[in-house]
């Protein structure tokens, strides 16, 4: 039981080379899926252990914390690890059919090995307690992500991947510079130790530089509004299973690191008191959900529309972070989870459409309901969750966020959120209208009926949908978990 934190990272890391050795498409898929489910189970066990607010510190190589590298697990990151591994498992089940359309059979094993490495990197980023280790795991996940995106079916995926590589490497390099300055200012890399030593560092200016570089670098990786350039093409052209996985996890993990840095390492007095960060973050957040929702309305491609909406949703999370209060942070954490689930479900249903229709051009979705009812129902429910209709997860997080904003008296921001929700209704509603009611204009579309997608694609989608509904109806459970996570983050390290 003591070895669980290490197992969490080692499981996918050991299995990735085994997948390369096995090489058989079906077996490599099975191996990757089983591994992912095991990792999910491990993170579930870890979450059980830290649920009461305790902390697990695992010293790698038996070298205790300030000297050695440690895994640091508390309420805040055990949940994120569970989100990452859980989504990975469900999407991997889904990927089996979806991938066969886009990836050549002889390369399946590389795809799944890359996926496992990406999972290793993401989980490692979340649970590590060492600043430099964050960079290493970040690069493990990023490099494998570039590869996964390049597996996309058309040649634009290559360009999207290259673009993400350039911007992602710049972001990661900024993080590296930030960590370097932190080390120069404090002489330690351990996060707990950093939090202790930063306030009485000899060179406040080096700390300031580190803070700036880390903030910008992580904002690039998290695709916060003005720095989101890589996300749109990457989400649009990547294989849809990869998009579903990334949309639910990659940006969320970066946002988690951002929170950990703002609140636990530097402390909210420094980040938000001294640095006046909320005057940077809040405008970026508002601009992101207003502009991106507006742009999403005019998109003609379903995947691109959802990519824009992803950036908008990151804006909500950022608005919650920028409040720097218990309730605001709770809203941010809840929305991080909810959006992860909702967006993954949406992209999975879009993937089903892609699997049968062959494209995701919105006008070609006329009366899809009569041909692929299960997919469309999943899309509609998840879409309503994105908008924030009561009884869905979206409602819980938006309600918390708005009440947190009102608590601070920032009612213009709350109004903006409502405006952007109306826009979300517009872009989701338009698609739903097409799917349900509009008569096909061209005669060619209706002539060949589409069948429903294979059961292996529907099941994970509906499991995720059911989870989303469950957390929406019993919203207090997620809220209490998120409140715990938020107070852990705000409280800093013990």
């Amino acid at each position: 039981m003591d070895q669980l934190p290490a197992l969490q990272v080692m499981l996918p890391l050991v299995m990735a080379p085994l997948v390369v050795i096995v090489r058989h498409p079906k077996w490599s898929w099975a191996l990757a899926t089983i591994t992912s489910f095991l990792a999910c189970w491990v993170s579930w066990l870890l979450l059980q252990q830290v649920m009461d607010g305790s902390v697990i510190r695992y010293a790698i190589g038996g070298w205790e914390a300030p000297t050695g590298i440690e895994f640091y697990i508390d309420r805040a990151n055990a949940g994120v690890a569970l989100l990452v591994s859980g989504l990975s498992s469900l999407v991997l089940v889904y990927a089996y059919h979806s991938i066969q359309r886009t990836v050549d059979k002889s390369k399946h094993y590389l795809f799944y090995a890359g996926w496992l490495l990406c999972l290793t990197g993401l989980i490692g980023m979340v649970i590590t307690g060492d600043a430099f280790n964050v960079f290493v795991f970040l690069e493990i996940s990023s490099l494998s992500t570039y590869m996964l995106i390049a597996f996309g079916s058309d040649r634009r995926a290559l360009v999207a991947s290259y673009r993400y590589l350039v911007l992602g490497s710049v972001g990661a390099s900024f993080i590296l510079i930030g960590i370097g300055f932190l080390y120069a200012a404090t002489g330690t890399l351990n996060m707990v130790d950093l939090a202790v030593r930063i306030p009485d560092s000899e060179s406040p200016r080096a700390v300031l530089v580190a803070f700036s570089f880390l903030t910008v670098g992580l904002m690039i990786k998290a695709a916060v509004f003005p720095l989101h350039g890589w996300l749109l093409n990457a989400y649009h052209h990547a294989p849809i299973a990869v998009t579903a996985f990334l949309a639910g996890t990659a940006t969320k993990v970066s946002l988690y690191i951002l929170m950990r840095m703002f609140f636990s390492i530097f402390g909210d007095d420094y980040s938000f008191g001294l640095m006046l960060l909320n005057w940077v973050l809040l405008p970026a957040a508002i601009a992101s959900f207003l502009i991106m929702s507006l742009v999403a309305i005019y998109q003609t491609d379903l995947r691109r529309m959802l990519a824009y909406s992803s950036v908008a949703q990151i804006g909500y999370i950022l608005a919650g972070i920028s409040l720097a209060t218990q309730q605001g942070l709770t809203a941010a954490v809840v929305h991080m989870f909810n959006h992860g689930m909702v967006k993954a479900t949406l992209f999975m249903s879009v993937g089903c459409i892609l699997y049968r229709v062959g494209n995701t051009h919105i006008p070609s979705l006329d009366r899809l309901m009569s041909r692929m009812p299960f997919t469309v129902v999943a899309f509609i429910i998840a879409g309503l969750g994105l908008v924030g209709v009561p009884l869905t997860v979206g409602f819980v997080s938006k309600f918390t966020l708005i009440s947190a904003l009102l608590e601070q008296g920032w009612w213009p921001a709350a109004v903006m959120i409502l405006v952007s929700s109306v826009m979300a209704t517009a872009y989701i509603g338009r698609v739903i209208y097409l799917m349900l009611f509009r008569e096909a204009r061209g005669s060619t579309v209706t002539s060949h009926g589409y069948r429903e997608v294979p059961i292996l694609m529907l099941v994970p989608m509906y499991v995720l949908l059911a989870l989303g509904l469950y957390f929406g109806i019993f919203g207090s459970q997620t809220l209490s978990l998120a409140e715990g996570a938020a107070s852990t983050l705000l409280g800093g390290y013990q």
Partner: protein, 142 residues
């Protein structure tokens, strides 16, 4: 990339033939002397791979591929990571933390020695395989 025909550049060919064993030997030295002096898996792996790359530049891809086929490289790549990760798992099985080499032998000092030896070996194998397969990948394009 222009691959030189067999009959040309006799000087280069002879010198390469002489050089390759020494490069390989130096790679091994850097690998296994890494505990006492500067060295280790990364550097050794690159040096070791550079011998194959030199051979490939002079004698052509075909002949190098016969010495070190890509299928073997794939195995080596995976094997190196497995050696590394396997050491970690072994230390966990023996009751220590991940990569806690103390438990590998009765004497913690020896344990550390064995542990770092195995880990560096894994790193070296993987780096060699990755470097050579990168060379294959790029050199085989047109």
């Amino acid at each position: 990339m222009k691959i030189y025909a067999r009959q040309r550049h006799r000087v280069l060919q002879v010198i390469t033939r002489l050089m390759v064993p020494f490069v390989l030997m130096f790679g091994l030295y850097v690998q296994f002397h890494g505990d006492y002096g500067p060295g280790g898996g990364f550097q050794a792996g690159v040096i070791f791979a550079s011998a194959f790359i030199l051979y490939g530049l002079i004698f052509g891809l075909q002949r190098t591929r016969r010495v070190l086929p890509p299928s073997v490289l794939r195995w080596l790549m995976a094997l190196g990571v497995l050696i590394y990760a396997g050491t970690g798992v072994l230390t966990m099985l023996l009751g220590g933390n991940l990569l806690d080499y103390d438990v590998l032998a009765h004497d913690p000092l020896h344990g550390q020695h064995w542990g770092i030896f195995a880990v560096e070996l894994g790193v070296g194998v993987t780096v060699t395989a990755v470097m050579v397969s990168l060379f294959y990948g790029f050199a085989s394009k047109r």
